[in-house]
Symmetry: C2
Subunit: 347 residues, 2 copies
DNA sequence: CGCATGCTCTGGATCGTTCCAAGACAGGGT
DNA sequence: ACCCTGTCTTGGAACGATCCAGAGCATGCG
């Protein structure tokens, strides 16, 4: 078991070890690693051979100390809410880890407290920043009133947001977001093409600007076809129970033939109501969700859902991060991506 | 906005700054932080005041360099498989982050390659280890033939496994696992109490020792009550489609009144078959899953599922990690926790 | 009074890397 | 021959913390 990845009995080799072996100075080895074009070709080859032979890899702590950078990106994680369908962050995190690595960064997870209140996370950000544990942050919830973005801005801490700065037109930080209105429009238009006219909307409460964005897609799609929307919209909490109740009321009062929901969680609530009444999703009543969660993918008969391009979001986030930390100051403050619709049995 | 968390215009204060302000040497400040009982009480107070006034926090890179430790724990993340119900790792990760923090560690995410093959991850482990980027690893898949555990053992790299070392009785590394047999037993016994006798098992292929463990609980529960199991078991891939086919075949050939599944994913497959045939879960046929995923929590009419104590697993993992990295060598090589059964409408 | 003892505190060295300024060397123009 | 320019390489200093050995200073004992 002694391949290229050799074992180190005591301590890993250092820059000095490589330098001695290659017959050059420490700095030359450092240059070979970080600025190869500064070396003459034969010197470079000699050093690279020594590096390979010894299995040298720079010590992170030393490098971090000298360069005043940790090459780590802090990612706060929220408590995953039980009973909701929204574990989609998985895809985002995975892609973020991958694209970060290609940019020379690793992802550090942290959480504030167990309370889940946004304010309680600030000390955690502060500690990481002050102890130079991370170079930048990725924040994922920029809902109205979320203090993190403002706080980080005030601190001049580098960060990229997944989500538009809804509340602050003055914000100058880079952000990446998904066009929720486009998603709502796609789902609604799809249902119209399937022959539906009485299409109901179940979304979040009005103070959720993300929810209002998605809802705008629904009303835009309806209005552009001159389909009336009166009495067909409902705004509730993002829980299965709320979706269940809202859909029951709507069925009784407005007789829709299809539901467009602001989340898979709400859509699952609709499926509950349909099951209660012996109706079949996709047969008697059409339903679409949002987020393309694993629930949407596995529930019978399959839930049509708007899929967010989370992989692409992560790539853009890292791109923005590089612009923030590297030399070239990025010009684009924000990037807006378009989701896709995954059609399944429920519509 | 100038509270305790002051802003640093240029660079954060260092040990030397605190020392000067408190009128002591650097080393004394260091001791005040790391070994407070070495200082006289009044000196300690004086230093602590200076620390608070300056908002001092030790520079991680410098500390890491000197102590030859990163205070980071590496956690490999797998590509979340689309179309399966198993996003339960969320709970584990969150709890791991929390308990790590209490132990003075942070969690660093990494992934090998996009290929998803286990072997391809080894270089990633190797890099992190050689560059002293992490102090230890937490590995989560210890299925038969998984090379990581053996490789890490061979490297003498500190790590804790979530999952028993099925394949290697010689393994001496600490591990934490959940008693799958107990879970299978609980689900089966629950169904027996509900009056079922013809209870079928849908599990994974025989080379999955985790699956065999869970299956053992089913057969134990059946056997202890002298209920025959012949023809009632099926072993397939862990996909919705497989669960769907397997349950269809079992229904035709063995006429079970209940299904115990090795995963929520398979259980969803059963729900598909029931929907296909106009049967109602929990009414005509009972179904139980495994993992208590968000799918189980939200699908109508609610999927009864075995819930793994992932929060507790993470706590035990960190405890083992502390034993591994700190002074006291832990005595217990392994910890086995018991799951619980969450009963919902499907049974 | 001398000296050992224990408690506090200090200054220098060190971890492994990169920054900085300058040295060595070869080639080209006058 | 001379100097100058540019390429390539070098040694010393620095990043900010902890380790180590020892200094200062009471106290206690013979």
């Amino acid at each position: 078991m002694s391949d290229t990845m050799s074992r180190f009995p005591v301590t890993p080799p250092t820059l000095a070890d490589v330098a001695e072996r290659a017959g050059v100075s420490r700095q030359t080895v450092s240059n070979a690693v970080n600025n190869p074009d500064l070396l003459r070709e034969d010197t470079l080859l000699r050093v690279q051979r020594a590096i390979a032979e010894l299995g040298y890899l720079p010590n992170r702590a030393a490098r971090n100390l000298r360069t005043r950078a940790s090459h780590l990106i802090g990612l706060p994680i929220k408590a995953a809410e039980e009973g909701t369908a929204n574990a989609a962050m998985d895809r985002f995190v995975h892609s973020l880890v991958d694209s970060s690595r290609e940019a020379g960064y690793h992802v550090l997870l942290f959480s504030g407290t167990r309370t889940g209140k946004a304010e309680d996370e600030l000390p955690a950000y502060d500690d990481l920043l002050r102890s130079t544990a991370v170079d930048a942050f990725v924040v994922t919830d920029t809902y109205l009133g979320n203090p993190q973005a403002a706080w980080l801005n005030d601190r001049r801490a580098p960060f990229v947001a997944f989500g538009r700065p809804w509340n602050d037109p003055e914000a100058r930080h880079p952000w990446v977001d998904v066009d929720g209105a486009a998603g709502g429009d796609m789902a609604t238009s799809h249902l119209v093409e399937r022959g539906h006219h009485r299409i109901a909307w179940i979304g979040w409460r009005k103070d959720s600007l993300l929810g209002e964005d998605r809802r705008a897609g629904w009303s835009r799609a309806m209005r552009s076809r001159d389909i009336p929307t009166a009495g067909l919209a409902s705004r509730v909490e993002d829980t299965v129970a709320s979706g269940r109740e809202a859909s029951a009321v709507l069925l009784d009062e407005a007789r829709p033939t299809a539901f467009v929901c602001a989340s898979d969680t709400l859509a699952m609530g609709v499926l509950h109501t349909l099951a209660d009444r012996g109706l079949r999703a996709g047969h008697d009543i059409a339903v679409t969700g949002f987020d393309d969660s694993q629930v949407a993918q596995t529930v019978p008969p399959g839930l049509t859902s708007v899929r967010l391009p989370l992989e692409q979001v992560a790539i853009e986030v890292v791109r923005a991060l590089e612009g923030l930390l590297g030399a070239p100051p990025s010009v684009a403050p924000g990037v807006l991506l378009t989701p896709t619709l995954v059609v399944r049995g429920s519509s």
